[in-house]
Symmetry: C2
Subunit: 417 residues, 2 copies
Amino acid sequence: MDIQKTMREKAEAAKRASRALAILPTGVKNEALRAMADALEKRAELVLEANAQDLEEARAKGLKRSYLDRLMLNEGRIRQMAEGLRQTAALPDPICQGDYSTIRPNGLEIRRVRVPLGVIGIIYEARPNVTADAAGLCLKAGNAVLLRGGSEAIRSNTAISSLLMKAAYKAGIPEGALQFVEFTDREAVDAMTHMTGLLDVIIPRGGAGLIHHIVENSSVPVIETGTGVCHTFVDETADFDMAVKIAVNAKTSHPSVCNAMETLLVHAAIAEDFLPQLARAMEEKHVELRGDARAREICPEMREATEEDWSTEYGDLILSVRVVPDLAAAIAHINKYNTGHSETIVTENLESAHRFQKEVDAAAVYVNASTRFTDGFEFGFGAEIGISTQKLHARGPMGLEALTSTKYLIYGEGQVR
Amino acid sequence: MDIQKTMREKAEAAKRASRALAILPTGVKNEALRAMADALEKRAELVLEANAQDLEEARAKGLKRSYLDRLMLNEGRIRQMAEGLRQTAALPDPICQGDYSTIRPNGLEIRRVRVPLGVIGIIYEARPNVTADAAGLCLKAGNAVLLRGGSEAIRSNTAISSLLMKAAYKAGIPEGALQFVEFTDREAVDAMTHMTGLLDVIIPRGGAGLIHHIVENSSVPVIETGTGVCHTFVDETADFDMAVKIAVNAKTSHPSVCNAMETLLVHAAIAEDFLPQLARAMEEKHVELRGDARAREICPEMREATEEDWSTEYGDLILSVRVVPDLAAAIAHINKYNTGHSETIVTENLESAHRFQKEVDAAAVYVNASTRFTDGFEFGFGAEIGISTQKLHARGPMGLEALTSTKYLIYGEGQVR
């Protein structure tokens, strides 16, 4: 089969459908999302069967446990996907909301309203739930979507997307608005990244390798998501118990996600008192610590951290630890090594808190809270398509609004310039 | 000289400066912009001298008149640049304005505030005024800027940027925040488009060739600007006099700019009555008309329009004309051939007006007004860095807000997840 040609046909069909979808009434979109949820639950056995085959193959390939866990579906996870679709249906429709309005001295009436982006490409890896989540969010915001999942989940994704498409089209979504790419070759990804004029944006979701490849090669605009080298800075005035609680939560509550902490920085003035308490708490949670020279003087059981450690997203129970002379050094370390995701300071000093928030360059900058809160649901958006680590278009957790653009509507009475 | 190395050093210096610039008080930025304006006016003779040399070389190369006009500076144009900087100084500072704020059930206080993008690359062609305009807007929004102008204006741009840098740094802008690229080779452009991690965005301003090259090759995010294949649709119920007035204005008031009209569509029901009136008015303004078969039946003096005409930005006194059976056909033609810039309908029918605005896919969709109004000043933004024809980040005229990103600031009291 000619991959390039088939891919282009899919994108063209999506683009055609996007015109009608852009002006589809909210009620039809919501009804379709609920029908998609029902279809997933009613035909769960089809999805589970496909998933069992994916899992079997992945096990035979010797893929590691964390990977298998991301790939695995069960009735509970399918119910979660369905619930996600129903929650998206219940959210306010972002389309046609206005956010700027003026009448100019010459009488022109100018309004800016939200419109869909058009056609969105989603390129993702192991998690089959992305198929349902992304489809629901894109459709709700009036966008057609081209979904390209990873090869390991191909059977699960195919089963899910077939059910979703059938239900969506039956409920009035324009035919072609939901496209699933069955090609698992890299060629399909490369075809998508060069569909300027057909795709309006590509959102990659997955590991650093995938995201880097797409950012470097795409001529379609990309929203970079995901990689998180997040820091906790324990300031001179920190409440030790609070600092330990926040650090343990940020590192261990879900080590594989992007808002988990990778490096802890501690103010030199308290390092000697604080680090032993931290080390004990981390040890209880089986976290391997890697320290700089000063940290290892205080806690000799730590391994030595190398330069590479400071920029590594472990995604695992490993934490690098560095003693810094002051707040300025902490901020400088973070701005050098972070990925622009989430950073937190634990402090009782208002000035330090304020300066940290002002000078640290990241999507989310916390005072006295765990970085684990960087998430569309926790931020009150009701949904999330990913977490942007770039500065253009959207930064931080992306809800429905991030899947829209704007349009100026101008009324005149014959004005010329 | 090693272009790659020097370019990287400039970008690194800009990035370092951007940290301090991001938190510089508004007063210092405004004072610097006014000092830059004063410097331009006081040392105008240096700029004019350099410009005279550029013009001489351009004439010797036989460049055409419209090009020479864009390149040419005189005292009035230098005063305009200075006034532009003073107006930018007078605009509200977009930085730290908040646009989202919530207290979550767990007590977390979440605010979203505007922050600078960081380092902006501007790649432009003949107009030396872009050097001052772009520098002023980028600095006001707290961004460092790397300016790379065209080879034909190299002496003018060098003179302007030296004056601006000296004045800016003396007034407290962090050293390095304003960088001018003296290399006119394509290699300098290609170096910029691959500075991921140093440049946060590239905004190209110039012809379709330059913009296309950058969009296709850049791994740094790009905001596409400029190309405008704009349409006027004269509906069945249009007031003929108004339609002619709007069409003549949209075509002839400034044919070389991107918001000028390139194609006129007319409803079949009125084509026979309307087109002769239009043709007379356009003839008076020396506009060459190129019609489809039906238009040429009515006005046989028109040349024949080819398929290529429908997607051509003439930038000149040429207009393509097509007779369409109805509103739907007009919308379909526009959505097929436009560049997402500006479109207008002339109509007395409310339903047609509404449907046109809803279904046409463009940054600015007008009813009964000339497309020439698509402009940051006309829209009330007080300034303009360009007109985005893409949907991501910013669409339509871009003012200061388009040069910013956002950051979430979160206050807690020890919350963990």
